[in-house]
């Protein structure tokens, strides 16, 4: 698997309809994650969705510096804040789901957001496969991604799925890599 820095990810990997699984480990994860969101929103001027199974709204606001992103460019479906008992501040940028949540609830929220957005959204980031694996079985994830990836292709969304596991031969990873266009390993940093 070729190692990439966010800056060196080719544009065709981020083109509409492209689907990629990004393996990113420990120390480089946060930087890569924040940079890819910046690249899609600030640099490419796109609007998209983020499924957050790892960071609460408050943590995410700091980690990704959401206040510096263009207004309404990122809609977060947050499946973690409610279970952490975080203080929830109602915001049009966040939708809060309970955890562990049925995967259907995530699919429904994506559909609702896409419909309400009237075609304005065109990318989806899932952060992260690692956390989904903790809650759901292989069969459940397989059904979930099978539907989601097909649906996103119909909508011409760019899909990026983050996986933080060192083990790139996990069954979920292997099955997913057979369903999507690109698998890449992110090494973090802007490539300066």
């Amino acid at each position: 698997m070729v190692k990439h820095k966010v800056k060196t990810i080719a544009d065709n990997i981020l083109r509409p309809g492209s689907q990629a699984l990004a393996l990113v480990t420990g120390e480089t994860y946060l930087k890569s994650f924040a940079e890819i969101i910046e690249r899609l929103t600030k640099k490419q001027g796109r609007r998209g969705l983020l499924i957050s199974t790892q960071w609460s709204a408050n943590a995410l606001t700091r980690r990704v510096a959401m206040s510096k992103l263009p207004r309404n460019s990122l809609k977060v479906i947050d499946t973690i804040s409610l279970s952490l008992g975080s203080k929830i501040t109602p915001s049009e940028d966040f939708v809060f789901l309970s955890t562990p949540v049925s995967l259907e609830a995530i699919l429904m929220e994506i559909e609702r957001t896409i419909r309400a957005g009237g075609g304005d959204y065109n990318f989806l980031i899932i952060d992260s496969l690692t956390h989904l694996k903790r809650y759901y079985t292989m069969g459940q994830l397989s059904e979930f991604f099978h539907f989601l990836l097909n649906r996103m292709l119909e909508e011409e969304f760019t899909v990026l799925i983050f996986d933080q596991d060192e083990e790139e031969t996990s069954r979920v990873f292997t099955e997913l890599s057979g369903m999507i266009d690109h698998t890449l390993s992110l090494s973090g940093g802007g490539g300066k």
Partner: protein, 244 residues
């Protein structure tokens, strides 16, 4: 394709895709399941789709038409002129009973014939192409057990002759196999969709399954129904949650 090439029959993409959008005009369908699990919303979209293609459609309900109009108008998929210009007509079943001169509590089996004739006259007068009776329970309640399938059969025969595609909504907690067959005679229906409420704490999922859709090799899967102001849509039911 409900007589119109290239048009969907529900306007709910996923359901139209699953059923291949095929409804022969004059077909009779049944939606059954507990109250509040998405049957009515789905049927409103069936009517919307008729209005969208400039057909007159008719809804017979036990809710006050004013309140129902407000509910229907709350969907972004609804266009304001449909109610105003009479594409969608709503009748309250008790008002219809009043027109034949009886109160619902005084209605006897003999009055059901008058009600039947009135329903037929109403849809004929409106030149309606789609009819929804939601729920059918108050009418079935008036009939004794042997007259119920006869009523459904008569309704089917007449509406089929007139080319009016009709859906009945039945509020019940029973699965189809546990229903008294003499009450319903499922073979009277061209399409049958069952709705359920599935508890998956902390949420409850409304699901549907197509029990029968004559003329299609439809999927046997279960789907989760989501109703929001953006409309109705389905996502596949994923195996029940197992927290690791």
């Amino acid at each position: 394709m409900d007589g119109k090439e290239g048009e969907s029959c529900f306007g709910v993409d996923q359901l139209d895709n699953i059923t291949l959008g095929t409804i022969v005009p004059g077909s009779l369908g049944l939606f059954y399941g507990p109250a509040g699990c998405g049957k009515s919303s789905m049927l409103y979209h069936f009517l919307f789709q008729g209005a969208r293609t400039n057909d007159n459609v008719c809804l017979i309900t036990n809710e006050p038409p004013g309140r129902l109009s407000t509910h229907i108008s709350s969907f972004n998929t609804h266009q304001a002129n449909w109610l105003k210009d009479g594409y969608i007509s709503i009748f309250n079943i008790q008002d219809l009973m009043g027109l034949i001169g009886v109160q619902i509590e005084d209605v006897g089996p003999e009055d059901v014939d008058l009600l039947f004739d009135l329903i037929i006259q109403v849809v004929e007068h409106l030149d309606a192409k789609r009819l929804v009776i939601d729920p059918i329970n108050p009418i079935l309640h008036l009939l004794d057990i042997w007259d119920k399938p006869f009523f459904i059969q008569r309704l089917k025969g007449k509406l089929q002759e007139m080319g009016i595609t009709t859906f009945l909504a039945l509020d019940t907690n029973l699965p189809l196999e546990e229903m008294d067959l003499s009450t319903l005679e499922p073979y009277n229906f061209n399409m049958i969709i069952s709705f359920r409420k599935e508890e998956e704490p902390p949420i409850t999922l409304n699901t549907l399954k197509i029990d029968r859709w004559k003329g299609t090799a439809h999927a046997k899967n279960t789907y989760v129904v989501d109703v929001s102001k953006e409309g109705v849509f389905l996502v596949p039911r994923i195996k029940p949650l197992e927290v690791k």
